[in-house]
């Protein structure tokens, strides 16, 4: 939808915390690959530090965090700050999955995680296509800003 199809980039992916729900992010990774992105896949049970190190190493445009344990709110606390401290300025942060223990109004969930510094927040059942369209736009924006 308007986003340039030549936009590519590097994405670090993984499931945060003690969480083992790997399938969702595997599907996203496959889709990223199919769309020409470089994927640095960290798998399940990834700590904040591991995400940051991988992003630094690969000079990533974005970090995709998946979380299904219901503990996401605690697990990503101050992640944006740590990214900035580590020098990952304006890195694109997406989070998706079953983020909270109780189903709440989606708007509230989204707000909660946007306030925590995420650029975009996705509910369970998000189609990979949607995330990739968004990513292309955000990367473009980020590069324009960087210029």
């Amino acid at each position: 939808m308007g986003a340039d199809n030549n936009i590519k980039g590097t994405v670090v992916t993984g499931v945060i915390g003690e969480d083992v729900h790997i399938v969702g992010i595997r599907i996203i990774e496959q889709a990223l690959n199919d769309n020409g992105f470089k994927v640095s896949s960290m798998g399940a049970q990834v700590s904040q530090e591991e995400f940051i190190n991988a992003a630094l190493e690969t000079n990533a445009d974005a970090i995709f965090i998946s979380s299904f344990s219901g503990h996401a709110e605690i697990l990503v606390r101050s992640f944006r700050d740590k990214c900035t401290e580590a020098g990952l300025n304006d890195i694109i942060l997406y989070i998706g999955g079953s983020l909270l223990l109780r189903e709440e109004q989606w708007e509230e969930v989204e707000k909660k995680f946007k306030d925590l510094g995420f650029n975009r927040v996705y509910p369970p059942g998000t189609s990979p296509t949607r995330a990739i369209e968004d990513l292309k736009k955000d990367i473009l924006l980020r590069r324009e800003k960087g210029d």
Partner: protein, 478 residues
């Protein structure tokens, strides 16, 4: 080197000291006292007795995982489900921090939950609650409290659960290695599991039957034979340590011919290998879950999933109807979610359990034959790697992809095997990876896939695979 060999009592008790020292509540566990405690519980609270009753009376019992962050909340939940959901089994899910042995973090979640009165964990922090907490729970209801969980190292958690009056667990080595840990090596998982099973055997030998369950791995989207081979290996570990009562979990994928056949093949081959390897007097209770990668978000369709699960349970002669609540796709279920789901299941079970329906046997014969060949090809290769020992060759089997899992959380998985549905909704090998299969087997699956391609007029692809994973969630078989 791992070996499938019973721990000596010495080794067991030495290791036990370390285990119980992992968290202060470990001190509460006293084996002899716990055995006495079990013997004074009403027999209907014992999981094995309850399963035996079901088997003898053609009954089917719904079962699901349920976990709240505090004993008090868990009691409220289980009592409600027992009464309003007419439950026969009351699931207990430990939280995921406990499963990862992060008892400190679990303690924080527990305390915060106690303080705020709101569950802050995705299950019960069993270790933090301790033996007394679990006993309070067990004493608050009439049905067996049934721990349902996987963990790479469940030793302390199971110690506390058994001492607390629970009489089953699922020390399922491959499930826990592949699905419940990302970094723990297989050898380590084998060791913790041998310990847990030795503990179960210890109780059993002293007159308190404890049931062990296994399903091999989370089987959604993967043809049954690989899971069957893996289940059998997991069960062989259990019986070697003295376990006598097995809850053999079967997985439904939606095509009833395949589902029923695979459950029969699973039980048959298990018996053959138990026999061959000299294990006697093993009691088996089949259970079934209609295993989906994604449960329906829409409540109507989720009742239809329970319908299939119950029908499968009936057709395979399962005692356990292992279901997910209608809230599964969304969040941790409330007590009302569980009770409503259970009431539905109960009525379905009541309606169907004594009916005279069955599978069309003719169509089933070829399917059974092929599946047996597949399972044995894998098992025999694993035994070959281990010089006849089912565990000694397991690490190599995992490394080489003779045992494989495409949706493993653990990094140590070849991840080559892929499944796809055929035109009747049975799962076929889209990619056999390094499974030690004959050309006959490979061709059988290829043919089935080709049939589907012919019917739908285009090739299957990775997208087909994803859409297959989500079909049932949307109310379709394929």
């Amino acid at each position: 080197m791992i070996k499938n060999k019973k721990l000596s009592e010495d080794e067991f008790f030495k290791q036990r000291q370390e285990v119980l020292a992992q968290w202060p509540t470990g001190k509460e566990v006293e084996l002899d006292e716990a055995i006495e405690y079990h013997k004074n519980l009403p027999p209907e609270k014992n999981f094995v007795y309850k399963m035996r009753y079901a088997k003898e009376h053609d009954e089917i019992y719904a079962s699901t995982g349920m976990g709240k962050a505090t004993v008090e909340e868990q009691i409220e939940l289980l009592q409600y489900v027992e009464k309003e959901g007419k439950a026969d089994l009351l699931g207990l899910s430990p939280d995921s921090l406990t499963r990862q042995n992060d008892y400190k973090a679990a303690q924080r979640g527990w305390e915060e939950s106690l303080k705020t009165g709101k569950s802050k964990l995705n299950g019960l922090p069993v270790v933090n609650c301790g033996v007394s907490g679990i006993r309070k729970l067990v004493e608050s209801v009439n049905c067996p409290v049934q721990p349902r969980y996987g963990a790479a190292d469940a030793r302390l958690c199971d110690e506390i659960l058994f001492a607390g009056g629970c009489s089953n667990s699922s020390p399922d080595v491959f499930m826990d290695f592949w699905q419940h840990s990302a970094k723990v090596p297989l050898e380590k998982v084998v060791k913790t599991h041998q310990y847990v099973c030795r503990l179960m055997g210890y109780y059993t030998e002293r007159g308190v039957p404890i049931c062990a369950g296994a399903q091999g791995f989370y089987g959604a989207g993967i043809p049954p034979s690989l899971q069957t081979a893996t289940v059998i290996l997991s069960l062989l570990l259990q019986v070697e340590q003295g376990v006598k009562h097995l809850s053999v979990k079967c997985t439904g994928h939606g095509n009833l011919v395949q589902d029923v056949v695979s459950s029969k093949v699973r039980l048959k081959i298990l018996e053959e290998y138990l026999d061959k390897l000299g294990y006697k007097d093993i009691e088996m209770f089949p259970g079934i879950s209609f295993s989906l990668m994604q449960y329906p978000v829409e409540v109507g369709s989720s009742f239809a999933v329970i319908f299939m699960n119950t029908l499968m349970a009936k057709l395979i002669g399962a005692q356990q109807n292992d279901i997910r609540t209608v809230a599964e796709a969304k969040a941790i279920p409330t007590k009302e979610d569980v009770a409503e789901t259970f009431r539905t299941a109960k009525a379905m079970q009541n309606f169907i359990q004594k009916q005279n329906i069955k599978l069309d046997e003719k169509e089933a014969a070829l399917e059974a034959q092929m599946e047996e060949k597949e399972v044995k090809a894998i098992l025999d290769k694993v035994l070959e790697f281990g010089d006849g020992d089912p565990l000694a060759g397991a690490a190599k089997a995992v490394e080489t992809g003779v045992l494989d899992n495409p949706f493993a959380a653990n990094r140590a998985a070849a991840g080559k095997v892929l499944g796809i549905k055929d035109s009747a909704g049975a799962i076929r090998y889209y990619n056999t990876g390094n499974l030690p299969f004959s050309k006959e087997i490979i061709d059988y699956h290829k043919e089935k896939i080709a049939e589907r391609e012919a019917k739908q007029g285009h090739k299957v692809s990775y997208e087909t695979l994803v859409s297959d994973l989500l079909a049932v969630s949307n109310g379709y078989l394929i």
